[in-house]
């Protein structure tokens, strides 16, 4: 190494300098890693290109009404994506409403309050949970969760909160709420394990300082440690959200697959990923296929919009914050 570095210190022509850097290995490493990073960009651009080109017919025929129409009729050749967008957003929101408080609570307990032994045992189980394939969750949902929701949870909600339109109507056991619950279960491991990591990385001095100022253990955790780790926590939530938005098999099995918009969370609905899984393999006719691909494009855009909103939220809270990362 030493000789080459002394050589490169001498003034040389550009090409020669490049060759020398190449010989020293740094340049190779830079090129190879840059090529790998480029692959990601290429794949993303490739996906967008494919989705764009293969949805041409649907985009030209329906235009913006693809986004606003709720008529999905393969026989009549009418395709509107609104019920699917609605179902995707609603089920993901329900999932986050359940998973964020539970996940954050569990992460705080495991990182801050639990004895080390319990924490590591729990973490092991949570990581196991994250590795369970989605179709297993689906089978579990259809044979265990659906009867549970139909016979106990939904009747109880209807009895107590039935005056709210979201908890009214016929109880089927499948629908937005059940899909949201199973999605919450699926994103929980992500939220817990990443939030826990973020909390563990908060320097001990932060806690000590808070305690020295007379904070209780909980005050130190909630007012100092959690805000310090908020970037990691937000990251975990958005990773969970991304999974919820695109989750396919398991949702297909419990959402009821009804392409219309209902206010009630008990009613059957549909998500973008679910209809792609359901109809793509048997779709015949170009317009039908292009409309399905257009749905894929919409899901892609939906993810981008939500990610952008997430970024804005992080920027806003970081500015407001006390100067931590």
């Amino acid at each position: 190494m030493a000789p080459s570095s002394t050589i490169s210190a001498r003034p040389t022509s550009g090409a020669r300098a490049f060759l020398q850097r190449l010989a020293s290995g740094d340049e190779i490493a830079r090129l190879v890693t840059a090529a790998f990073a480029g692959c990601i960009l290429l794949a993303t651009v490739g996906v967008i290109w494919e989705l764009w080109v293969n949805s041409t017919l649907a985009r030209h025929k329906f235009g913006l009404s693809l986004l606003t129409s709720s008529d999905w009729d393969a026989v009549a050749g009418q395709f509107g994506a609104l019920p699917f967008i609605y179902g995707t957003v609603v089920t993901s929101l329900v999932a986050l409403l359940i998973a964020v408080p539970v996940g954050l609570g569990a992460a705080i307990f495991l990182a801050e309050l639990a004895p080390a032994k319990i924490s590591s045992t729990f973490t092991f189980f949570i990581e196991l949970l994250a590795a369970v394939p989605s179709v297993i969750y689906g089978v579990l949902a259809i044979f265990t969760l659906v009867p549970l929701m139909r016979d106990y949870v939904e009747p109880a909600l209807k009895k107590t909160l039935g005056f709210l339109p979201i908890f009214s109507g016929t109880i089927l056991g499948v629908g937005y709420l059940t899909a949201g619950v199973i999605l919450a279960l699926m994103v929980l491991p992500f939220i817990i394990s990443i939030s826990r990591e973020a909390l563990l990385e908060v320097p001990t001095e932060q806690r000590e300082a808070a305690l020295a100022l007379g904070c209780t253990r909980w005050e130190s955790t909630w007012q100092v440690v959690v805000p310090y780790a908020r970037l990691g926590i937000f990251g975990s939530i958005f990773l969970g959200l991304a999974r919820a938005l695109g989750e396919t098999m398991c949702v297909t099995m419990v959402i009821g697959n009804d392409p219309s918009i209902h206010t009630s969370l008990f009613a059957p609905g549909y998500t973008i990923a679910a209809i792609l899984a359901n109809e793509f393999s048997e779709a015949t006719g170009d317009l039908y296929l292009h409309s399905l691909v257009a749905l894929g494009l919409i899901l892609f855009l939906l993810t981008i919009v939500i990610n952008a909103m997430a970024r804005l939220l992080i920027i806003a809270t970081t500015r407001r914050g006390s100067g931590h990362p």
Partner: protein, 339 residues
């Protein structure tokens, strides 16, 4: 000397193996999922008898099978619904339809406290799926089921959520028996359902009906039998109430055979005949009418002959109704059309 002999022997054996591998005719096919269990069995059994032929079948769905055939990525396709003229026009080499086996769809339900088999008229079934008949004790159901204690509960309608040949057969039947269905919904692999909950695949429709009281769904006969679920008798075109079984399904094809077009593209739902079960259907292999590769042509035509004779014996054991002899005779003639 000995050693070199051994080497020669090994070389010769290797050469023979290579030659055998080279002579093996590989045929790729793709399509319908409904007949996959029997196709898998057929291709395996046929491969055992003819070691120089190997047929690979991907059960990716009828639509996928038609798409792959159109793009020329498979040697033949398979579908639960006949191809339309438009679809045929897009394939470079015109495909021929060969019916392989038959399937029957049954209305299956979960009614706590009802032990008798229910009887459905076409009007009642269409009414339920149109969302017009909402309660189990509707007069349309009470009328044909005297003495059955039908409850005053909402009917939970279950249908397939995935595009499928099964849905095509079911909606094709409803379109034939109900003008309103034909006008408002129509027939396709997936339709805009006026009511109900969608579940993926026969297995999950059966599973959901089984665990949901007061629900009704439609599944292939074999799924109702395997899951020990109650299923109803349907009133056929001749006015007779029949429960689906292999005989009544085969009979539907026999009844339709007389008026069957030469290309076998025919729906046999609501077929005439007192013994014909009304929600029956063929499933087809889609074979190109011209196969350039002589070895492949030989393998495919010989397979078709075997399928129409020995192959049919596997049908009943796997839950499919075998073809009636009228149709077999007609297909044997059609094989000669492959050039």
């Amino acid at each position: 000397m000995r050693k070199s002999n051994m080497w020669l022997g090994a070389l010769a054996a290797g050469a023979i193996l290579l030659a055998a591998a080279e002579a093996k005719t590989l045929i790729n096919a793709a399509g319908a999922t409904f007949p996959y269990p029997i196709y898998g069995k057929w291709f395996e059994e046929y491969g055992k008898k003819n070691i120089d032929v190997q047929i690979n079948y991907q059960s990716i769905g009828s639509g996928g099978g038609i798409r792959q055939l159109t793009e020329g990525t498979v040697d033949f396709g398979a579908s639960d619904m006949p191809m339309t003229d438009e679809q045929i026009g897009k394939v470079k080499v015109k495909p021929l339809h060969f019916p392989t086996v038959l399937g029957g769809l049954v209305p299956t339900y979960n009614l706590p406290g009802v032990t008798q088999d229910l009887k459905f008229t076409p009007e009642a079934l269409a009414g339920i799926y149109l969302g017009k008949i909402k309660k189990w004790n509707d007069p349309a159901l009470k009328g044909t089921n005297p003495g059955v204690n039908l409850p005053d509960t909402d009917i939970i309608v279950v249908h397939r959520s995935d595009g499928s040949g099964t849905t095509f057969v079911f909606t094709d039947y409803l379109s034939k028996v109900s003008g309103e269905w034909k006008k408002d919904v129509g027939a396709n692999t997936s339709v805009k359902w006026p009511t109900g909950v969608g579940q993926k695949g026969n297995e999950f429709v059966a599973g959901f009906v089984k665990q949901t009281p007061n629900s009704i769904g439609y599944v292939e006969l074999i799924y109702a039998v395997q899951n020990k679920m109650g299923y109803g008798a349907m009133k056929n075109a001749a006015g007779v109430f029949l429960k689906a079984d292999f005989d009544s399904v085969t009979e539907a094809a026999a009844g339709a055979a007389k008026s069957m077009p030469d290309d076998f593209r025919v729906s046999i739902t609501n077929a005439p005949g007192k013994k014909a079960y009304p929600i029956s259907s063929f499933t087809w292999l889609l074979i190109p009418s011209k196969i350039d590769d002589a070895a492949k042509k030989k393998a495919i035509t010989e397979f078709l002959h075997w399928m129409l004779a020995d192959g049919q014996k596997y049908a009943a054991g796997l839950g499919y109704a075998p073809l009636p002899k009228e149709v077999v005779a007609k297909e044997l003639k059609a094989i000669s059309l492959i050039q």
